[in-house]
Symmetry: C2
Subunit: 217 residues, 2 copies
């Protein structure tokens, strides 16, 4: 499968790139800085060096799937680029055969009280300093949900989304998930497993799913 990963040298996306290569797919990392990408993905990594907003419909539709793993750091004043890039990709992929998988963060997942986590985050003291990323990731999902002519799928990690290896995962839909110890956790390695499994055997169309780390013994 021809898989392009936007933001391919980030913490989650580099794992997705590696997992895709491991499984024999033609993976391409779409990045702005070739040197940084090669430092993370290797000298011989397949790169498309271009700003996400400069990608054309032709750039995008030569892939079977676009994985939108674009992200800005927590607290960045550019958090709105999350929603803007999702909207741009949606526009280019309307009525095409290229699938769109978007990593949308955990803040749009529902808490046990039935309300989305973002509502709780918006009540936190000092949230103004860091709310941009989770808020705009929630907007990304809301925008995807307006779209019926792109084969999109969104995936949320858990509240704790940490660098780590693949140990297996459990799938959910729209709720924050907790392990046997009451923790809501996902490693980047398990995210990569879940993304590649979904791409190889699509189960979710025009909906969001989530995964957590499988329980250990």
């Amino acid at each position: 499968m021809k898989i392009a990963i936007i933001g391919g040298n980030g913490k989650a996306s580099s794992k997705i790139y590696e997992e895709a290569i491991k499984r024999g797919h033609e993976a391409t990392a779409i990045v702005r800085n070739a040197e940084k990408a090669q430092a993370v993905l290797g000298e011989d990594a397949e790169l498309l060096v271009k700003d996400g907003f400069a990608l054309t419909k032709e750039d995008l539709t030569r892939f079977d799937v676009i994985v939108d793993a674009f992200g800005v750091p927590m607290g960045s004043p550019l958090a709105y680029l999350h929603m803007d890039l999702a909207a741009k990709l949606i526009h280019d992929l309307r009525d095409t055969d290229t699938r769109l998988l978007v990593i949308v963060g955990a803040a749009s997942l529902n808490m046990p009280d039935g309300k989305p986590l973002i509502d709780q985050l918006l009540q936190a003291p000092g949230h103004e300093d860091w709310i941009g990323v989770p808020l705009n990731q929630s907007h990304e999902l809301a925008i995807l949900q307006m779209v019926d002519n792109v084969d999109w799928v969104a995936i949320s990690p858990q509240r704790n989304f940490t660098p780590g290896i693949d140990t297996g995962y459990i799938m959910g839909s729209n709720d924050v998930m907790f392990d046997a110890d009451g923790k809501s956790e996902l490693t980047t390695g398990n995210m990569a497993l879940a993304v590649l499994d979904e791409l190889e055997s699509p189960e979710n169309h025009q909906e969001r799913f989530t995964v957590r780390n499988a329980d250990t013994e």
Copy 2:
């Protein structure tokens, strides 16, 4: 004021263009077809001939205001362009001094039962044939409401939005409005008055307002 009107030769936008010229503003119609535009707006109309999605940040920010009056006909399979273009304009106008006024249709207004008109339209038999435009206009408003670093304003007409002259209007906020005869009506002429009044004396920032025809004697 330098005012650009996207979709400048439509039924509402041509009235806005004419009203802007009448009041002495530098109005530019952004259109794809110069001949069609000149047939509606006159041989000497100021045009920027370009597809909306091809507009650059530089094209847009040389105006004080962008009026997004883009529209596709009811029933068009391209209704999604309403939301895609709004998202594109938002992206280009982030953190700039150019204001964005978007005509978002009436379907997002609340009915007397407190629910948006779009909910009622989605229940109508055969709505699949024509729901695209009102649905995507509602999406446009929802997307604008996610944006806090563009000076945007949205305006909704009434359920009956008809070609007609300027006779005066009454302003509302988020509810469908009814005149003394129980009709929810706005003429394109009154829309143009309301748009130019708002641009000359801004009253609504990052919110939507609506207008109806003033009652006649």
